[in-house]
């Protein structure tokens, strides 16, 4: 590559200087440049080929549900389980300290009417009775079973009913 780059630069310099018929210099420089590009691109094509094999072994031939499970595993499974418990057209608030986790579970919860705000895991103060809150770990929210309350550090407690939960998160309906 370094040699090709050097050849290319010398030919280009000669072409610009006009010491040799520029057409010939630039023809050769173009060929050297194309060969250098092809070498780099061969490595990239190899990587794309490997990726295609990996993608094929992971997704090819799978039904849609399994393909989504293979892609987004826990997030999709949780969204599917919680989504089945939500009565449309209720509003659904997703809360998580992980931007990625919150985003993925919110995405899979649509076409429910979902609210998820990046960098802000605390549900807003404008919650209404019948809204749902999805908590996804990691989260600073704590559920107090005896009081049926969700508590955040910087917000008044929220009166809720626990609808479903597992080790990754929970679904709560605002009372």
């Amino acid at each position: 590559m370094a040699l090709l780059a050097a050849v290319w630069l010398v030919l280009a310099a000669l072409g610009f200087s006009g010491r040799i018929e520029r057409r010939h210099c630039w023809g050769a420089a173009g060929a050297a440049g194309l060969v250098a590009w092809l070498l780099l691109d061969a490595l990239w094509q190899l990587q794309l080929g490997r990726q295609a094999v990996s993608t094929w072994s992971r997704y090819a031939g799978l039904p849609l549900e399994d393909r989504l499970l293979a892609s987004d595993g826990e997030y999709y499974r949780l969204a599917r389980a919680f989504g089945a418990e939500i009565d449309p057209p209720a509003r659904v608030f997703v809360s998580s300290d992980s931007d990625f986790g919150g985003m993925r579970i919110a995405f899979h919860l649509y076409p429910h009417n979902v609210y998820w705000k990046r960098d802000d895991p605390t549900p807003p103060l404008t919650l209404m009775r019948g809204d749902y809150i999805v908590i996804m770990r990691p989260s600073s929210a704590r559920f107090f079973r005896n009081e049926n309350q969700l508590r955040y550090e910087d917000r008044p407690p929220i009166a809720v009913t626990a609808v479903a939960y597992d080790s990754l998160g929970g679904l709560f309906r605002v009372r």
């Binding site: 610009f16 520029r22 990239w44 992971r58 997704y59 993925r104 076409p111 807003p124």
Partner: protein, 487 residues
């Protein structure tokens, strides 16, 4: 059945818009078929989304049959107008084709094979992999999912409005105010396959890729570039790693924005350099430039660069630098007097927090020159553009339009990453390459024009008495331009 519907979907996306592009162009121009195919495909993607908006606005349900019928009608009208305005076929002598040599055919065949291999590699990823990119799952694909579920364009409002409205039935996502073209494209593919499909909604990205490649080759040929160099240029375009990544991990808007900007700028250059095509190519430049507004909010800035290029190209040469200076002074004055909290394209000066951030240089240089996002393109561009400025401007033709537009775009790009709060996107290497994708295909086209000029023989000096009968440069016979097509 799904495959048949997808073929129908592609045909209906492509053919009607192509018939209208054909209306604009003269079939005797070099690269005509590729320009029609490439621009037709890109225009078809845009027109389909406009028809979907029209259907929603007039209360028509969002269904494949309804949109397909509208496209069919558009195509039939386009063909009818073409037929009514048909012209006698060009005489066989009108365009002289120089046959390709054996090695040229071999090189072109090899490059086409590589392009086909790349297309297949990317197509497999698109077909198999569920939607993955951050932007797709944070806003674009969400809209498609909801619209496909409700079979209508349910409104999306900002998060603040959504909270204030209570249970109004509206939805919300991050950046709800962004244009709807990208999710509409995903919705169109979804309608063709009968509903939301996590992989096949991304098929329009393959169409963007193919459309870009064909339009690039066609316009390169139209600019007088030989078949081998034009084919090599198309291969360089279609093999750039970050561009490939945006197809394989489809769902970002930057590829479509880059494709529209490229299409507009290539047409702008043709309009500036070929008087016979001024109206047709100028119209394409304006249409695809305006299309940038429909894709992302920042498209407005790219559209302004295209308008600036058109304006600069129309100026008499002696006025260029004074007007440029005047515009610079005017720009700085407006910036100084502009209200801090007034938002344009979703951004206000207060949010942008204008100040020089030199630490962003590292990210910009890494993204463009050190990482392999673009293979060698930025290096080629540096050499060719520097050489053009410092040394040799002969044989290049009028680059005022494309040059001014790209220079302004580069200035805006550097201002964004060196002078605003978006510098973080360069420092963390999260956004600078994506924005580059919107511009670098056009930079490649400029490089190809500069390179082609280097391959053209120097014009003979006019003062030399020995050159009373200098050899004619290619394509010039008896003092008149002949439509010779270089090999």
């Amino acid at each position: 059945m799904t495959i048949l519907l997808l073929i129908l979907c592609l045909t209906l996306t492509w053919w009607p818009a192509s018939s209208w592009v054909r209306l604009l162009l003269n079939r005797d121009m070099a690269g005509y078929g590729f320009i029609v195919a490439g621009y037709g495909l890109l225009a078809g993607l845009l027109v389909t989304t406009l028809l979907m908006r029209l259907a929603a606005a007039t209360g028509i349900d969002l269904s494949f049959a309804a949109i397909a019928l509208m496209l069919l009608g558009l195509g039939v009208v386009g063909e009818a107008v073409n037929w009514a305005r048909r012209q006698p076929a060009a005489t066989p002598q009108a365009r002289v084709k120089i046959p390709l040599s054996r090695w040229q055919r071999l090189v072109i065949g090899f490059l086409l094979l590589l392009i086909l291999l790349r297309f297949l590699s990317l197509a497999l990823e698109v077909v198999w992999r569920p939607v993955f990119p951050w932007d797709a799952t944070i806003h674009w694909a969400i809209k498609a999912k909801v619209w496909l579920e409700h079979q209508t364009l349910v409104p999306f409002v900002s998060q603040e409005d959504w909270l204030a409205q209570g249970r109004s039935g509206a939805y919300t996502v991050h950046l709800a105010q962004y244009p709807e073209t990208i999710p509409l494209l995903q919705t169109w593919a979804g309608l063709a396959v009968g509903g939301y499909h996590p992989s096949l909604i991304n098929l329009p990205w393959l169409a963007m890729y193919a459309g870009m490649g064909m339009a690039f080759y066609g316009q390169a040929r139209n600019a007088g570039i030989g078949a081998v160099v034009a084919c090599a240029g198309s291969y360089l375009l279609l093999s750039m790693p970050l561009l490939n990544t945006h197809v394989a991990l489809a769902g970002y808007a930057d590829l479509m924005l880059g494709a529209c900007y490229l299409a507009a700028m290539m047409a702008l250059h043709s309009a500036c350099t070929q008087p016979a095509q001024r109206v047709a190519q100028g119209s394409l430049a304006l249409l695809f430039g305006a299309a940038c507004l429909l894709i992302k909010n920042e498209g407005v800035f790219w559209f302004i660069t295209i308008l600036s290029g058109m304006f600069a190209a129309a100026l008499p040469r002696r006025l260029f630098w004074p007007v440029l200076l005047g515009c610079g002074v005017l720009g700085i004055t407006v910036l100084a007097l502009f209200p801090q909290d007034l938002a344009i394209a979703g951004h206000s000066l207060a949010q942008l927090d204008l100040q020089y951030r030199p630490q962003a240089w590292t990210g910009i240089i890494s993204s463009l020159l050190l990482l392999d996002s673009w293979h060698l393109l930025p290096w080629f561009a540096l050499l060719l553009i520097t050489g053009y400025w410092l040394n040799d401007r002969s044989g290049v033709g009028n680059l005022t339009g494309i040059g001014t537009a790209l220079a302004l775009a580069l200035a805006l790009f550097l201002t964004l990453y060196l002078g605003t709060g978006y510098a973080g996107g360069a420092i963390r290497l999260t956004a600078v390459s994506r924005t580059s994708l919107q511009l670098l295909p056009t930079v490649l086209y400029l490089c190809l024009l500069l390179y082609q000029a280097r391959l053209t023989p120097r014009p003979a000096p006019t003062a030399c008495p020995d050159n009373a009968n200098p050899p004619h440069p290619r394509g010039r016979i008896n003092g008149q331009l002949s439509p010779v097509q270089s090999p």
